[in-house]
């Protein structure tokens, strides 16, 4: 059986998020180790803008997902795998929420407000607090490392479905490679 596809909106949101993460992650690692310089300040700002964009996309995705049920996983998949996939997707959503949130809070604690795109100031939910800022930086970093591991599993699973199981699971999230009925 060829599983139904994700909606075009869901596909667009998924890959846009993926693209942003691929940019944000190395950018974060690179800028964190730079000595203080105009370049560092500029990159941190870009990082924050992209990160806030991921957060906004996540809110859109959640709203979309609630109103558009994702296509079910095929019965050919063992039950544990279906549970694992579901759990992994939920964890990834959780991280996509927690990582930008920790970045936003970290910025507030460090006394450096987030001004989205240099135009829209986001409220500081917490006051300036150096110790808390350092802690939130650790949290931000740790959550990111956790996400890296989960993403590798996510990508690994997708590739396995595509090249080994050949069950069309990856194709239903791809904007091209249309197979069978799309909805």
């Amino acid at each position: 059986m060829i599983p139904a596809r994700y909606t075009h909106t869901a596909i667009a949101l998924h890959w846009l998020t993926a693209l942003l993460i691929v940019a944000l992650f190395p950018l974060g690692v690179y800028m964190a180790d730079l000595a203080l310089s105009p370049l560092k300040l500029r990159l941190i700002s870009y990082h924050k803008w992209l990160g806030v964009t991921v957060f906004l996309l996540l809110l859109l995705r959640l709203a979309w997902r609630v109103s558009h049920k994702p296509p079910p996983l095929p019965d050919s998949m063992p039950l544990w795998q279906r549970h694992a996939a579901n759990g992994l997707h939920h964890l990834l959503y959780l991280l996509l929420f927690a990582i930008p949130l920790s970045g936003w809070l970290m910025s507030s604690a460090k006394g450096f407000q987030t001004v989205y795109l240099g135009l829209l100031p986001l409220p500081d939910l917490i006051g300036k607090d150096k110790a808390l800022g350092d802690l939130l930086r650790e949290v931000h970093e740790t959550l990111n490392m956790a996400m890296l591991v989960l993403l590798l599993a996510h990508i690994g699973a997708a590739l396995r479905h595509h090249f080994i199981e050949r069950d069309g699971i990856l194709a239903r999230m791809l904007p091209f490679l249309e197979r069978g009925d799309s909805r």
């Binding site: 105009p38 300040l41 500029r42 700002s45 460090k110 006394g111 450096f112 407000q113 001004v115 240099g118």
Partner: protein, 185 residues
């Protein structure tokens, strides 16, 4: 309304005939500044400064002020920024430990507002500045609040790579809050 307040201020000051204020209540006073980094306002503070002032609210034009700021006492928001900002390309606090302001004139602007003009010296450069402020009497103290914009590059603050004003803006808003106690005769 402001005019009325101003009149009241003058009257109360007049009642205290020639009451001069001068000695600074250091723990209640502050000199702070706001820079813009990538359009994000970032607040900083100078923890140490001295101010020799003499101000009679009844005759503000006779006022005098000499303010010295210990640039090494800067807190620009983070340890990393503090180290940077004391360095050569910013304040160069080792060779120029102090910024100072010497008033040349005090004026009444009206509407409860005043202005002092004078010479600001930072990093070996001296330029004319004007700073508007307000006055208010609080118990037996005189509270002076004001701010003025300063272009950091005029003084060579943040040179080299930091002269890129698209990251750190040229204009810095300097704010002062002085609490003066009465001069004891």
């Amino acid at each position: 309304m402001m005019r009325l307040l101003y009149l009241l201020l003058l009257l109360t000051a007049g009642a205290a005939q020639g009451a001069e204020f001068g000695p600074l209540l250091a723990e209640k006073s502050s000199v702070t500044f706001v820079t813009r980094q990538m359009n994000v306002p970032v607040e900083g503070v100078f923890r140490k400064f001295t101010a020799q002032m003499l101000l009679d609210p009844a005759r503000p034009d006779t006022g005098r002020a000499q303010i010295d700021i210990d640039l090494g006492s800067v807190d620009a928001g983070s340890d990393e920024a503090n180290e940077e900002v004391k360095g050569k390309s910013w304040f160069n606090a080792r060779d120029f430990p102090r910024a100072s302001f010497s008033s040349t004139a005090f004026r009444v602007l009206g509407g409860g507002r005043f202005e002092t003009s004078g010479k600001m010296s930072i990093k070996g450069k001296t330029l004319e500045v004007r700073a508007p402020f307000t006055l208010r009497q609080e118990k037996d103290m005189l509270v002076l609040d004001g701010s003025f914009p300063l272009k950091r590059l005029d003084y060579g603050i943040g040179s080299g790579i930091w002269s890129d004003t698209s990251v750190v803006a040229d204009e810095v808003q300097v704010r002062f809050h002085f609490v003066l106690t009465p001069v004891r005769k």
